[in-house]
Structures are given as structure tokens and as C-alpha cells.
Subunit: 123 residues, 2 copies
């Protein structure tokens, strides 16, 4: 696909995908409290070890994990940088521009009518 209007597919796509799953968000929440071994993390979920490991791999590929090997153990460390990146480049802009938009929305919700924008070519 992606002929005339290719989908960007930036490097942060993997981060968004990683954050989309509740299990992975829970993993990040746990790692926010400190580093954990893979085995520790497996004990937190109702799925098998392999399922958790698959999630960990996706987090790692998204750059959200730094991994430290100690003998036969693997300590997983959270890397918050990609999340900050997403915030700076995507979420914060929504915070900034929201003020007057919210007023418009209030009108839409209350009266079913907003400011009337001029129409473009509809194709």
C-alpha cells in the first residue's frame, strides 16, 4: 500500500505499538519501581513465561528496556527516554493548542453547532 500518501512509519512507531498493550504497560509500571529479573516479571502475570518474554522482547525492540546480564540472570531496566520523546513530539502539542479548541467543543456539545468553517474541495 501507501501510494500517494505514504504512512510515515517513524522510529517511534514501535514505541506506540509497545504502549498499546496493557500487559506491556503493566510491565513498564513494575520496572518503574526498579530493575527486575525476567523470572520476577513472569511471576506477575497469569500467562506463561514465554508470553511475558515475548512482551519483553517487544519492549526491548522499542528501546524501552536496557538489559544487564549477570550470570544466568537478566536484569531488565526501564529506559524512559522514548516515552519522553513521544511526549515532547506528540502529546505536548495537544496540551498547548487545546484551550480555544475546548471552547469550540463546548459549543458543539451544548448546541450541536460550532464555528462554521469554510468548506474545501471534497474530492
Amino acid at each position: 500500500m501507501s501510494a500517494a500518501h505514504p504512512v510515515p512509519s517513524t522510529a517511534s512507531d514501535a514505541v506506540w505499538k509497545a504502549l498499546a498493550d496493557p500487559t506491556r504497560r503493566q510491565l513498564l509500571d513494575e520496572l518503574r519501581r526498579g530493575p527486575r529479573t525476567t523470572g520476577d516479571l513472569c511471576g506477575l502475570f497469569a500467562m506463561t513465561r514465554f508470553g511475558v518474554m515475548k512482551h519483553l522482547r517487544q519492549l526491548e525492540e522499542a528501546g524501552l528496556l536496557l538489559i544487564e546480564r549477570r550470570g544466568r540472570e537478566r536484569w531488565n531496566h526501564l529506559n524512559p527516554t522514548p516515552i519522553r520523546e513521544i511526549y515532547r513530539r506528540w502529546i505536548r502539542p495537544f496540551e498547548e493548542e487545546g484551550a480555544d479548541q475546548l471552547l469550540q467543543l463546548k459549543r458543539v456539545a451544548e448546541r450541536g453547532v460550532a464555528a462554521k468553517p469554510t468548506r474545501k474541495k471534497t474530492r
Copy 2:
């Protein structure tokens, strides 16, 4: 599943899922500049009208869209509130606690060794 450790499945799950797709993020980016009709939005992508409409529906179900009907047109308005909610309840905490964690990570990356945490039961 979800036997011993049920996955939360909060109301914001739909928002995360909605944000996971690059096409939907692009739609939100466009709507951030102002309200658009469904037809307008369809012209921005290389997919058919139906594909775009499916994405719009998912955005709506996640609460990210407010819809205003004007005759036979539908004006889609961005509702930034759910994104702010996600920021406040999930992303901002990562910003706050990150400082010392980042120091630890530097050690991990540079020397391959971090502070040695005490081990728990591995199961």
C-alpha cells in the same frame, strides 16, 4: 484468561489502542488544526473511504472525537481530553521518577553493571 492477575482493562485502553495506529495519529494531527468533514479526511490518505471511516469510528469510540452533524455533512472535532488524561495518569509519572533511574541506566550502559538489588523469590 486473567485468572490470578487479571489485566486491568481500564477505560483508557481504547485510547491507547487508538493511538497505536499511525493513520489514526495522522488523523488526530489533522484535526488538531481544526474540524474537518469525513470526506475531507478521506482525501488525505491512500486508502479507501471505508478504511478511513473505520479509523474514525475507533477514534470516536475512544472518546477522541466529537461529531457535529450539519445536513448531510459530518464535522469531526478533536477532543484532546482523553490524551491529557493519559498523560496525567501514565506518562507524567515517568517524567518525574526518571532522574535517578537515568543515572543507574548510564552505569548499566557504560559498565554493564548497575546497583545490585537484593533478590526475591524467583518462583
